[in-house]
Symmetry: C2
Subunit: 259 residues, 2 copies
């Protein structure tokens, strides 16, 4: 497996193309609907630019690096690849779209899922980014796993279901913790409190995150069912920010129910 075609010019397509460009794999083409951005990325990775699906060239690997909701429809337009490259593998990079969305192409199919938010503009060293591999057969998995190992030191093979669970876990661990920090920061701003007062507590939480049984380490008024404090906090939040109060109440209920 040597020759790669990347379909897409967005965040994942850009970061992946640049990372693969540094390996022994060859990026032969970048496909994109917008000629200008396609040419730009193609030039950066010494590849040809292509904006016509019918002109996609023979390759060993096709990477469908487009938005989740565009994967299925694009796959349906790629049935001709089977005739020019019958032994190729086709993959996408989504955490939540099943690999089987690519089955319609008739090619061997799978997923290369980097567990990190990627931004077109932000350089990233994939070496420390966990890379999940899914494939339709042991042979596909082996090829994709080998490629992943050229990008990252942390690669692993999982099923579609496991990748979905991993994506949701990542949302809880990253997006939702971030949301809670946003609420804390907003409260500090509204009440003229320095944000750095909370650094020691945030650091404590973060350090503790590596423990294997976090459920046992839950603290706070909800976990000790301190109803008086919970009520006082709800009343306080209701005056200023009803949405925040709703979140406070629901999460407190959930914590109390688990303790």
């Amino acid at each position: 497996m040597k020759r790669i075609v990347i379909l897409g010019t967005g965040n994942v397509a850009t970061r992946l193309a640049k990372a693969l460009h540094k390996t022994a794999y060859e990026i032969v083409q970048i496909y994109g609907r917008t000629p200008a951005s396609t040419r730009k990325l193609a030039k950066q990775v010494d590849a040809k630019a292509c904006s016509d699906l019918q002109k996609i060239e023979v390759a060993d690997l096709y990477v469908v690096a487009v938005k989740d909701d565009a994967i299925s429809s694009l796959a349906k337009e790629l049935k001709h690849l089977k005739t020019i490259a019958p032994k190729a593998i086709i993959v996408h990079n989504s955490g939540s779209v099943a690999s089987t969305a690519l089955k319609v192409t008739g090619l061997a199919y799978g997923v290369l899922y980097p567990l990190q938010s990627l931004k077109k503009q932000v350089a990233i060293d994939f070496f420390h980014v966990p890379f999940a591999v899914t494939g339709d057969t042991p042979k596909t998995r082996k090829s994709l796993h080998e490629l992943a190992r050229n990008l990252s030191k942390k690669t692993f093979v999982i099923s579609d279901e496991q990748r979905m669970a991993l994506h949701i876990a990542a949302i809880f661990a990253n997006n939702f913790t971030h949301y809670m920090l946003v609420q804390a920061q907003q409260l500090c701003k509204e009440h003229k409190l320095q944000w750095d007062l909370l650094y020691p507590l945030i650091e404590h939480t973060f350090k503790q995150a590596k423990q294997t049984d976090l459920a046992l380490l839950q603290t706070g008024p909800a976990s000790r069912k301190d109803t008086q404090t919970l009520k006082a906090h709800s009343a306080f939040l209701k005056q200023n920010n009803k949405a925040q109060e709703k979140v406070y109440r629901l999460i407190s209920e959930m914590i109390a129910a688990n303790n």
Copy 2:
């Protein structure tokens, strides 16, 4: 202000007594309802043990280090202190009880609030623990602030309202982020995924926490209003864990509404 009486033998009373014992302040008495645990703590800080409110001695500072819901009722039983120590200050250590709960004693009153979960059994260096001071008059605030500076390098004077906001912010930043990590870990366990796969993402979130405008840095399917992914995740969670699905949906709605 030299002589201190501590009322309570729990987590905060124990940690505070031990920390104050190392300063130039003198702990003259520990009051507690249970004679055995009171004697134990008193001995550790070279103080007398006392289990009779009428036998509390003259001091410059009375520290009501009891549970939040016991502060008000205990304060009402301390009206006699005014006659033996009219110039004393009385404080509690709660984040969410107003300092005015102590007004009934007739003494000058305030709050010494350490912004950290304290555990009786876990030694702590208060030096890095932010210490919030509240007081009824500039004179009270000055005395309490001076004491706090003997314990911590990070001390500050705030109002009852600010302390309440700070406590709630701490719950969002600590307890609620922890809860989200618990959910992520649970998903990993259920689907046989290694927990350390998420370390890079968790580290990223916490490193980013020091930014001053976190609301602008929210990412994930909810913030980009990726309805297809949100629906797929809800459907997936509903099969296994309805409570988790409820949290996923509410937090996603909140994030989407802010973006």
